[in-house]
């Protein structure tokens, strides 16, 4: 028997091996996490909905295992699901009032694959409304708080998934990353977040923000766990035309190989000269440099490379995203689903639509929808949307040139540690600059991973390091990520989350 307090601190990989060894049941594992949610989620508010049927599903997995059925490698492990993903058994709101109570008649492909793999859906996690934001403060259902400091943001848009994993409410979570929404929350919560190559994971059933940027990925506490979840959700899906048809290697195996092997020796790591340390909080720069030094000590070669167009990334992103979003969010019109507001008796359907969208969308959503409408409108298309698409080409060329010289690129995952709730709410432009290091990967479609790199000395808050690889080289990131993780955890004498002041350690 494993005590409940120990169960929630297990990695998904460890949970899985105990489940398959019969040392632990899925019902026990699920119960422990549900109890944890009950205990801390009043403070953290990572979940918008907790699955009433979680224990039933867990019991079914236990029954099937007892009956001798061959189950997937992580069957019986609980999973938190970002509310951007549609589910048939729980509401899917994408953090918006306009979709309050919405029940999807179909499951997102990643959800269907998770169910088929025997994962136990624990609930739906909080997020910035329609994934627009970097702090989860734009959720219509109230902010999520960072488990490291409840007065601070957990990052966004996937703050709920990152906080759930950091607070030991779930060992695994699904996220979505349009401009950093998996990696930046990982950075500020001391967790692992992976954005796969565009097309590596199906977008079917992910409520679209910006179709050409969105990608679903794993949110976990370790790199191996991310690989295990990626193995479940990844691969070709005929329901998504942009889904890649190739077969992928096992990412869990790649991570295990990285954790045990000699991956860092001779690895060429590129550092982008246009991202000077001065652009980052000192503690963020310090942890970034220290991590590079540790890698160099293991034989990695640190190379400075130029990516001259990265500085245009944020501008291009804030044209492409609002433009695509303005179109993707047009479906929320009160006709087929979602909120309906009737402004006055005898209102026409046009008036009802406009009143519904006025009442149902939050400020940030309206801001971006209006911006996107403007960027696409006649006379401005070429200057704005068209030019932004050209910047994508230039950023891709920068990546190509860089990857001709190096195996991976490294950057700090975000400019600062977790800021205080409300601190940047009134300054959208400042908020947008949070994504400066994560955005280029979305624009170019390449994979990126953020892993914990330590605590910033000045505030004791987590810092992440991001690695980027060429498109389709996701396995390389698992290898490198796991190698660096092993190196740092050894150096720290234990996982970073053990040092979380509130409910970290092995309390």
């Amino acid at each position: 028997m494993t005590a409940p307090a120990d169960i929630i601190h297990l990695t998904a990989a460890d949970l899985a091996s105990r489940l398959s060894a019969g040392e632990l049941s899925s019902v026990e594992a699920t119960t422990a996490h549900l109890d944890r949610i009950r205990e801390v989620d009043g403070d953290v508010h990572a979940f918008l909905h907790v699955n009433e049927r979680a224990l039933e599903i867990a019991a079914d997995i236990d029954r099937r295992r007892a009956a001798g059925e061959t189950l997937g490698p992580i069957a019986g492990v609980p999973l938190a699901i970002k509310d951007v993903l549609v589910t048939t058994d729980m509401p899917s709101t994408s953090g918006s009032r306009i979709l309050e109570g919405y029940m999807s008649p179909y499951d997102a492909t990643v959800v269907a694959r998770s169910r088929a793999a025997g994962l136990v859906p624990l609930g739906k996690t909080n997020m910035d409304e329609f994934a627009m934001g970097s702090s989860t403060e734009h959720s219509a259902y109230g902010p999520t708080r960072n488990p490291w400091d409840l007065e601070r943001i957990p990052g966004g848009s996937g703050g709920g998934s990152a906080a759930a994993v950091a607070a030991f409410e779930a060992p695994l979570a699904l996220g979505s990353d349009t401009g950093g929404s998996i990696r930046q929350p990982a950075h500020v919560t001391g967790t692992v977040g992976m954005k796969p190559t565009y097309g590596g994971v199906s977008r079917y059933g992910a409520i679209a923000l910006a179709s050409s940027l969105d990608q679903v990925g794993p949110v976990t506490r370790t790199v191996v766990d991310a690989g295990l979840l990626h193995d479940v959700i990844g691969g070709h899906d005929p329901h998504d035309a942009t889904s890649l048809k190739e077969s992928w290697p096992s990412f869990a195996s790649a991570a295990r190989e990285g954790a045990s092997g000699d991956v860092l020796r001779g690895l060429r790591v590129g550092v982008i000269s246009e991202l000077p340390d001065s652009g980052f909080q000192p503690g963020v720069s310090a942890r970034f440099r220290a991590t590079l030094d540790a890698m160099a000590a293991q034989g990695a070669e640190i190379v400075e490379v130029s990516a001259p167009h990265f500085e245009y990334g944020v501008a291009a992103y804030y044209l492409i995203l609002p433009a695509e979003a303005s179109s993707n969010l047009a479906k929320f019109d009160s006709v087929r689903f979602g909120m309906r507001v009737i402004p006055h008796a005898g209102a026409t359907v046009e008036e009802v639509m406009a009143a519904t969208r006025e009442a149902g969308f939050g400020d940030e959503v309206k801001r971006r929808v209006i911006l996107g409408t403007y960027a696409l409108s006649a006379g401005y298309y070429d200057a704005y949307y068209g030019s932004a698409q050209k910047v994508r080409t230039l950023i891709q060329a920068d990546f190509d040139a860089a990857f001709a010289q190096v195996d991976v690129l490294a950057t700090p995952s975000a400019p600062t540690t977790a800021f205080r709730l409300g601190e940047k709410l009134d300054d959208p432009l400042q908020m947008y600059l949070n994504d400066v290091t994560t955005i280029p990967a979305n624009l170019a479609g390449v994979p990126g991973i953020s892993i914990p790199a330590g605590l910033a000395p000045e505030d004791g808050l987590p810092v992440g390091i991001q690695f980027l690889a060429p498109a389709r080289e996701d396995a390389r990131l698992y290898r490198v990520g796991a190698a660096v993780e092993t190196l740092l955890v050894d150096e720290w004498g234990g996982p970073l989350l053990d040092r979380m002041p509130l409910w970290g350690g092995m309390a």
Partner: protein, 504 residues
């Protein structure tokens, strides 16, 4: 809606030159929709489907749903492009046309904008008088249809005055090819004829390709007619109107004629034409103003990020080109020669839009004359009376079978017409109707002789009259026998039997 002033057509043509343009939407009859795997209501198997039973998540814009292109629809579109003499783009792409409307689940239509799949073609159009006119095609692009709105309340069933509307998304996502012509100059007096013949030609082409059921009354083929006038000698084009969704070939002709007369009257009175869409009213034969063009028509087109370019391999284009049917003009010449119809007979069939039906009936075994007779007379008469299309009522195979029963002597012409009514009423094939209604000619002489005996008993003087050489006296008996047999006798045979009897 005030009554428009119209100028006499000939006078209008004297003073103004009409310039035409057409946008024809063709619903493809693929098994499934353009971007979803839901069954396609434009496929004959599904056209009776109940509301909202042919809907996949993407058709109603459900959160998270994504479109995927139907390969068969792409092949059909390329074939149509080739049949229109178009060039096929080595790479084309989809775009989103953004506007809010309740019949549009996503509030954008996936269409093609700057990179259509087919462009720069031309078709030869044969007018009723046999003249052949070439119509230049600007482009043909792929897109999806919208759902269907039913306006409830108010008196007209139209949008104006309705209290509320009901939305059915079955039609949302039906594959469409939109064919856009270049401006047609020099149409002159023939403008209405060209309009009709052009739509007829498109219909013939898609039917020959087998890519659409092309039933205009069902909206499989819809025509928007652009008409503008310019004073004689003026270079600059006049302001145009776009009359939407004209849903029969005859209406296209009438709508163009009406717009020419209406615009001419306005221009002659010193007025200006408003650039607007107009609605065609079948009942009154008039158009009425719709939505004016405005700066709200900012569709914010951008490349559809959920879909990828369509880049057909040259080998695919060659394959589809090799499978093209003959051009309508060529086909008509061939059929006219094969069938041996007189000019006027053949044109009658063409103008009734029944060429395909007659051809298929001949292929099913009927003589051309018989096929023509059935389609042009009895079937057309019933269709007219019911306000339906002849092709909707019976199949060519059924018509051929009906004629075969007549030729074999199983049916008289009169009985055959009753059988046809049964077939149209949905009682099955002609043979089924003959069996179930018991309509076959009684060929059993015993039954006929018994009936003749009865009739002769009632009119004992008739036999003697015949023997006296007054053969026409048989008529009264024949009538009585036919009546007794409820028409199911061959009158000629009855006559023969009576004469035999008199000779005894």
């Amino acid at each position: 809606m005030g009554r428009d002033k119209l100028m006499d057509f000939d006078e209008a043509l004297e003073r103004f030159e009409p310039v035409l343009g057409f946008e024809v939407h063709v619903e493809l009859n693929t098994r499934t929709k353009m971007f979803s795997a839901a069954p396609n209501p434009a496929h004959s198997a599904n056209h009776d489907a109940a509301p909202n039973t042919l809907v996949a998540p993407v058709d109603m814009g459900l959160p998270g749903a994504l479109p995927v292109v139907n390969e068969e629809a792409v092949r059909a579109s390329i074939s149509l492009g080739l049949a229109l003499g178009c060039r096929i783009a080595p790479s084309s792409r989809f775009a989103r046309k953004n506007y809010f409307y309740p019949d549009l689940g996503k509030n954008y239509q996936i269409s093609q904008y700057d990179e259509p799949i087919a462009f720069e073609g031309s078709v030869e159009v044969e007018l009723e008088d046999g003249t052949v006119v070439t119509v230049a095609i600007e482009r043909a692009h792929m897109e999806e249809d919208a759902g269907k709105l039913t306006h409830v309340g108010g008196s007209t069933g139209r949008i104006q005055g309705a209290e509320y509307s009901l939305v059915d998304y079955n039609r949302a996502g039906v594959p469409l090819v939109e064919i856009v012509t270049k401006p047609i100059f020099g149409a002159e007096h023939r403008a209405p004829d060209i309009a009709k013949a052009y739509v007829q030609t498109i219909r013939d082409i898609v039917l020959a390709l087998g890519i659409s059921d092309a039933r205009m009354e069902r909206g499989n083929l819809r025509c928007d007619a652009n008409v503008s006038l310019r004073p004689r000698g003026q270079e600059r084009l006049g302001t145009r109107t776009e009359t939407k969704n004209v849903n029969s070939m005859r209406s296209v002709e009438r709508a163009v004629r009406y717009e020419i007369q209406r615009q001419a009257a306005i221009l002659a009175a010193g007025g200006m034409i408003t650039q607007e869409t107009r609605h065609w009213h079948e009942d009154t034969g008039t158009t009425s103003p719709g939505r004016p063009k405005s700066d709200a028509d900012d569709y914010r087109y951008f490349p559809e990020p959920d879909l990828l370019p369509v880049a057909p391999a040259p080998s695919l284009i060659d394959e589809l080109r090799a499978g093209l049917p003959e051009q309508p003009v060529v086909r008509r010449r061939r059929l006219k020669a094969d069938w041996g119809f007189a000019d006027i007979e053949f044109r009658g069939v063409v103008n009734a839009g029944l060429l395909g039906e007659v051809e298929a009936t001949v292929a099913a075994g009927a003589t051309p004359a018989a096929a023509r007779k059935w389609w042009m007379s009895e079937i057309s008469r019933i269709a007219n009376a019911d306000g339906r299309e002849p092709g909707e009522l019976v199949t060519p195979a059924q018509v051929a079978q009906l004629q075969r029963l007549v030729d074999e002597g199983t049916l008289t012409d009169k009985l055959a017409r009753q059988v046809l009514e049964g077939v149209i009423a949905g009682e099955g094939d002609p043979a089924d109707v003959v069996a179930s209604r018991g309509l076959a000619v009684v060929s059993d002489d015993t039954a006929l002789i018994a009936a003749i005996d009865d009739a002769l008993a009632a009119q004992p003087d008739v036999l003697q009259k015949i023997r006296d050489g007054k053969v026409q006296a048989a008529g009264a008996v024949i009538g009585a026998v036919m009546k007794a047999m409820r028409g199911q006798a061959d009158a000629a045979r009855v006559r023969e039997l009576i004469l035999e009897r008199a000779a005894q």
